[in-house]
């Protein structure tokens, strides 16, 4: 039995994993970079090991240092979370070699699903539908032009090693092929160290629907139903919900069965997600399999009533699944909102900085997973995801109403964030009706950016309050603070001269 888990990750997912470990009475080891000494996962874990400088390549992606921390701490297992090393077959292999349990699938399952071309071929063989396109990696621009013309516009160029929307380019006309190819390759090289790509027919107005699966080491596989993930911006999910507004029981059953088939085809073990793309006519195609926990796993936890991290640990312990497919049901409706430190009004520019104040929503049907606290400085080196709001309701309408209440209670000050933008999506007609595709945000940007109307005299009240606070502070200001105020003048002079050069 696993007694001590090293969490090879940071942020909300590291904290979330530690919580479940603590509930199972398993000791936890955090790892951290220079930038993360004050991060919540370091404060919350039983032990903490420094593993390198701030850039991820030197710390959270540094396999040697992480293995060293595991050995020093005596951890008998490593949980990789999502991102970073979670889908790195070499890391899984290395853990095996070191006699440390990797809480995730085997290196071969990771490799087969990690290489999108191998995955396509495996799925075709297993009888799972895939998007029309090439089954070979493209090595030359000439070959690419030829294949794309054969497939017919529009097409998607995708990184073979891809994931998370990186290294993807849409091409609609011949003139753009070469530049798209170049940029997809370059992004893939940077993100995955592998610049090979392949071509797929581009599915217009698609839905992105994924199925959660759990597979134990005894050959049992169950699917825990779908997550609708079509609310995306730049291929990054923002809001996810389950059940999907567009699935009926037959389609759910069929896709779920295919998800199990997909997992079985690679002898999968652990928690995984089979992603499908669904077109206008409700045809669905295998897109990829994420061989790890997903960011959006909590909505499945809420609706199905499982703790996926605990299931992962039980599977890693060699225990058989206690869940039976026929006993699994979806209870009510859950929606997740991803809170990012980014500025929607400034082209969603990432917004690192110090969190000065947080109001968190509570009460019936509300769960919050986060990694920030008042006074915490969000570092610039990592993903801008800082919190997740998960809301449950007995049906979709109820979940939407509760989400509106909870999002309004949620305030984060000091860093720009997308809470108001999330509120805009939540109020928008298409989302309320459940009629949206992956293009929804792009097609409705202007509507989504609108702030809610101010009730009654609230503007004037805010003006008065700020003014009273200012008067009070001026009265109280010590000589030292007055100097600080004066210094602003000096600063301004300096800035001005730069502006004027």
């Amino acid at each position: 039995m696993i007694k001590k888990v090293l969490v090879a990750n940071r942020g909300e997912i590291a904290v979330r994993i530690i919580r479940s470990c603590r509930e199972m009475d398993i000791r936890t080891v955090a790892v951290y970079s220079d930038a993360d000494r004050r991060a919540l996962h370091v404060l919350y874990a039983d032990e903490a090991f420094h593993i390198g400088p701030s850039p991820s390549a030197d710390s959270y992606l540094n396999i040697d240092n992480i293995i060293k921390a595991a050995r020093l701490s005596g951890a008998d297992a490593i949980h990789p979370g999502y991102g970073f090393l979670s889908e790195n077959a070499d890391f899984s292999q290395r853990c095996k070699k070191e006699g440390i349990i990797f809480i995730g699938p085997s290196p071969s399952a990771i490799s087969m699903m990690g290489d999108k071309i191998t995955a396509r071929k495996t799925m075709l063989k297993a009888g799972v539908p895939v998007v029309p396109g090439t089954d070979d990696r493209i090595t030359s621009d000439e070959q690419a032009v030829k294949v794309i013309k054969e497939t017919g516009f529009p097409v998607m160029i995708k990184a073979s090693a891809g994931g998370g929307g990186k290294g993807m380019r849409l091409v609609s006309r011949e003139a753009d092929i070469r530049s798209a190819l170049r940029s997809a390759r370059s992004e893939a090289k940077t993100a995955f160290g592998d610049d090979s790509v392949f071509i797929e027919k581009y599915i217009e107005s698609p839905h992105h629907i994924e199925f959660q699966i759990l597979a134990d080491s005894h050959g049992n596989i169950v699917q825990l139903f779908e997550r609708e993930c079509s609310i995306q911006r730049r291929h990054q999910k923002i809001i996810e919900e389950t059940p999907s507004p567009i699935l009926n029981p037959e389609m759910r059953k069929k896709m779920g069965d295919d998800a199990i088939t997909a997992a079985r085809a690679v002898d999968y073990e652990g928690a995984g997600t089979v992603e499908f793309i669904v077109d206008r006519d409700r045809n669905y195609y295998f897109l990829e399999m994420n061989t790890r926990l997903q960011v959006e796993h909590p909505i499945t936890e809420r609706v199905v009533g499982v703790d996926l991290v605990k299931e992962q640990i039980n599977i890693a312990n060699g225990k058989p699944l206690r869940l039976r497919q026929k006993e699994l049901k979806q209870h009510g409706h859950a929606i997740e909102f991803r809170v990012y430190a980014e500025d929607p009004e400034n082209n969603f520019m990432p917004a690192p900085g110090v969190v000065t104040h947080i109001d968190i929503p509570y009460g019936v049907g509300v769960r919050v997973d986060g990694s920030i606290y008042e006074g915490f400085e969000i570092p610039l080196y990592y993903d801008p995801l800082i919190a997740k709001l998960i809301v449950w309701g007995k049906d979709r309408k109820d979940a939407l109403e509760r989400s509106r209440r909870a999002l309004k209670e949620f305030k984060i000050a000091g860093v720009r964030n997308n809470l108001l933008f999330l509120g805009g999506i939540l109020r928008s007609e298409g989302f309320v009706k459940g009629e949206y595709t992956t293009h929804y945000i792009d097609e409705n940007r202007d509507i989504l950016m609108k702030n809610e109307k101010c009730e009654d005299h609230c503007e004037d009240i805010v003006i008065i309050t700020a003014f009273m606070e200012y008067l009070q502070k001026v009265k109280k200001a010590s000589p030292k603070e007055m100097t600080a105020i004066k210094n602003n003048w000096k600063d301004y002079s300096r800035v001005r001269s730069v502006l004027k050069l």
Binding site: P350, P352, P384, D460, I461, I463, I464, T465, I485, R496
Partner: protein, 171 residues
């Protein structure tokens, strides 16, 4: 004594007429408000106006004159305009009207790519520099057409928040 207060794009004139304990009489743009005004914490206020309950949280932004303000429903940027603010604003207007501009990054990050060189003429909206931060790449574009006077960073370089990237001369 009355002040100007800026809320998002609105400029309002505020004057405290009378204050007696929690009871506050104040006017905004000539409209009078009788309020039950109570501070409940640092920067946090409860205001009752004709039994309507408002809860306002103020988070200071650099000093004591600028705030992010939250109510349950909305968020605002608020600024108290005093003599100093007015001076700065007038300078800013001068600057906006100028024929030169420094493009700078509001956030720290790493320069991924520089897409123009010194002396090059650029169109409005043309990409100048790409900065990477928090796994995201941000493009910085020319606000107006003009000419690149100076490129102040190199590819691969780390930049601080507000560091200057490119100097443009508008045409």
């Amino acid at each position: 004594m009355s002040y100007e207060v800026k809320l998002n794009d609105r400029l309002a004139r505020v004057e405290v007429i009378n204050q007696d304990g929690n009871q506050l009489l104040v006017s905004v743009d000539g409209k009078e408000y009788e309020l039950d005004f109570v501070q409940i914490g640092k920067g946090s206020y409860s205001i009752l106006h004709k039994n309507r309950s408002y809860n306002v949280e103020l988070i200071p932004v650099n000093g004591i004159k600028r705030y992010q303000a939250h109510t349950l429903q909305n968020s605002f940027d608020v600024e108290i305009i005093d003599a100093e603010s007015k001076y700065i604003a007038s300078r800013k207007r001068e600057h906006d009207a100028a024929d030169e501009a420094v493009i700078s990054s509001p956030i720290p990050g790493r320069v991924v790519s520089i897409m123009v060189s010194e002396g090059e003429t650029v169109e409005a909206g043309q990409s100048l520099v790409i900065i990477s931060a928090m796994k995201m790449e941000s493009e910085f574009r020319a606000p107006r057409a003009g000419k690149v006077i100076s490129v102040m960073v190199t590819e691969g370089q780390s930049v601080e928040a507000r560091q200057e990237l490119v100097l443009l001369e508008y045409s």
